[in-house]
């Protein structure tokens, strides 16, 4: 079986995406006769690539002109599959990976699945496991026809290293690309620098239970003093209490801090998937029956603001300033 791993060199999350693909390769338990890395780039030809935890038989560097257009990637992939067909393509977990997996499989009469957590070759068919019913269940599917195009599931933050590519294995692909007829004009507005949410030790996640923006602002202050990054559930984000790039859950970030405090979130499937990999979870909720307690290690039934304000006091009185700094510093160290 031949597989290609499809990544974009210019992506902000390249190393994390490579980690997610590595995680999938790790799971599969399938021996591939051939694994290639297909790396898209725009301007400067890359010399480094993210580390892949399986021997690569080749690296294809593919120049893409219209980076913001999935259709460009698709045309290139179709052409490339014509030149060197693969049985399995692993795509990234982000929107682009999902779009490419779906549309490429369609164009090549293959099968596709998104948010794939696990895949296994069983005799001649590929089995995949992915969440269904709002992350309340997971399902095992058999995919019917190759090429199998999978977008892998998001994983907790664990970016791989960048390494120098073996020159001998590299092949550069330059193909003609047509200008899209439908885009008259475009503009890219870069996000502010990433939050430290994905790779911090202590996260405070706030849900609708916070009640209002003012309380959330107080909580932000508490997060600051105790050295935590703040995250939010969908309602907390939709109410504009917390910035959208701090959304936690199936449609946001998957985090895995050493310690996660979930305050005023009910803990639905789509949310919980975002924090369940944390090493230790503290849940604060006034409702003792809230599902969040099912994934928590420690729970407090009570009003989140009252408890967190007390916690802040306890932390501040117990530790002198230096020690509080210590938390902050060690956080930076691990980044």
């Amino acid at each position: 079986m031949k597989a290609a791993l499809v990544l974009s060199f210019d992506s902000n999350s390249l190393q994390q995406q490579a980690h997610e693909i590595n995680a999938m390769l790790n799971h599969t338990g399938t021996q591939f006769s051939n694994v290639e890395l297909w790396l898209f780039y725009k301007d400067r030809k890359p010399e480094f690539s993210p580390e892949i935890f399986c021997p690569l038989s080749g690296i294809k560097l593919i120049q893409v002109e219209y980076v913001h257009l999935p259709e460009s990637y698709l045309d290139l992939l179709v052409a490339l599959m014509g030149q060197c067909p693969m049985d399995l393509l692993l795509f990234t977990s982000d929107g682009l990976g999902q779009e490419l997996a779906t549309r490429l499989a369609y164009r090549l009469n293959g099968s596709s699945a998104l948010k794939v957590e696990d895949c296994r070759l069983i005799r001649d068919t590929l089995e995949v496991i992915k969440p269904v019913y709002g992350n309340n269940l997971s399902a095992r599917f058999v995919l019917k026809s190759s090429p199998y195009c999978l977008s892998v599931a998001k994983q907790p933050f664990h970016p791989v290293k960048m390494i120098l590519m073996e020159l001998l294995k590299i092949k550069t692909i330059l193909l003609n690309q047509t200008q899209p007829w439908w885009v008259k004009e475009h503009l890219t507005i870069l996000d502010p620098p990433k939050t430290g949410l994905s790779n911090t030790d202590l996260v405070l996640v706030v849900g609708q239970g916070a009640g209002n923006k003012k309380t959330v602002d107080v909580l932000k202050g508490i997060a600051d003093t105790i050295g935590a990054e703040i995250g939010g559930s969908r309602p907390a984000v939709m109410n504009a209490w917390i910035d959208i790039n701090r959304l936690i859950g199936a449609s946001g970030l998957i985090i895995s801090p050493k310690l996660c405090i979930a305050a005023g979130v009910s803990g639905t499937g789509v949310f919980s998937v975002g924090i369940k990999n944390s090493r230790f979870i503290v849940a604060i909720n006034i409702d003792s029956k809230a599902p969040i307690f099912q994934i928590a290690d420690v729970g407090i039934v009570g009003d989140l603001a009252t408890i967190l304000l007390e916690l802040e006091k306890v932390i501040l009185t117990d530790k002198n300033k230096k020690q509080v700094h210590h938390i902050v510093e060690s956080r930076i160290e691990t980044q």
Binding site: V132, G134, N136, V142, K144, K184, L187, L311
Partner: protein, 274 residues
């Protein structure tokens, strides 16, 4: 401009309890007793479209809005609601009840695109994910079937200078992309802070909507028999419910202060000072 918004209603999973997650031998889960709601991404898509049509109101080519769902009768109520708040047509595509369409984005998108082609819409808007299948593929496949371009994770759509030009804001890796695009086009809504909730119809609008017939189209009328709709992509083998296997320790205490102190001393202290 003819616009179709495709939506899916889902069971409100937040109202299901542990014991409700059971399935029969065809892997169907009884969700018939739980209220159904618009998938939240579809809800944004629908509301955003209403706002968009308002902008187009004064242009020479006014909007004709269709709300479209592939569902059985339970979809009708939601279609009537959409008509009441301003959609011109409510269309439901009915498949044979024996088909399992939950994980069949190919079948669904095939049906949708055939209807779109038949009716001559030039803009199709869908939500980003959701539904029992959590497939996340329908929008992409509609674009493929129609051979149209597609923009995913859209957060805002406004009218550019003429009615066949739209200004679309969407999220791409680490940035917001603003494009001026020509139709036809498929748009897939992401998190829209602008229009998260659907508006509510007035009594009068509801009454008027009652008089308006819905369009029910069968899959065979769209030229797709059960065989053609059968998933050639994947087959469901089994389902599994994760058991977190944790048992939460509840911290009791007379006051919040006591609880906070316990939490810190017993659990947080050692984890914070690494």
């Amino acid at each position: 401009m003819k616009i179709a918004v495709c939506f899916k209603i889902i069971a409100d999973y937040d109202r299901m309890s542990e014991k409700d997650w059971e399935w029969d031998d065809r892997h169907f889960i009884d969700i018939s007793f739980v209220r159904h709601i618009f998938n939240c991404f579809d809800e944004s898509a629908l509301e955003m479209t209403l706002k968009l049509s308002k902008q187009l109101e004064n242009l020479p080519d006014p909007c004709e809005l269709t709300a479209l769902t592939v569902d059985d009768e339970q979809g009708d109520l939601f279609l009537k609601h959409l008509i009441a708040i301003g959609f011109d047509h409510g269309v439901r595509i009915q498949c044979d009840g024996r088909l399992d369409m939950r994980f069949n984005s190919h079948g669904i998108s095939n049906l949708i695109s055939r209807y779109i082609r038949q009716e001559g819409q030039t803009l199709v808007i869908l939500g980003y994910q959701g539904g029992d299948g959590d497939n996340g593929q329908t929008g992409f496949l509609v674009a493929e079937h129609l051979g149209w371009p597609c923009i995913r994770e859209v957060i805002e759509v406004t009218v550019a200078e003429s009615s066949d030009l739209l200004k679309v804001k969407s999220r791409i890796d680490g940035a917001t992309l603003v494009q001026r695009v020509k139709l036809p086009m498929v748009l897939i809504m992401g998190h829209s802070l602008d229009s998260p909730y659907l508006r509510v119809p007035t009594l009068k609008q509801k009454l008027n909507a009652k008089k308006k017939p819905l369009t029910i189209v069968s899959s065979t009328e769209l030229g797709l028999d059960n065989d053609a709709l059968h998933s050639k992509d994947k087959t469901l083998m089994d389902l599994h419910r994760h058991n977190p296997g944790k048992s939460c320790v509840f911290l009791e205490g007379k006051t919040a202060q006591e609880q906070a102190k316990k939490l810190y001393d017993k659990y947080l202290k050692q984890r914070l000072s690494l």
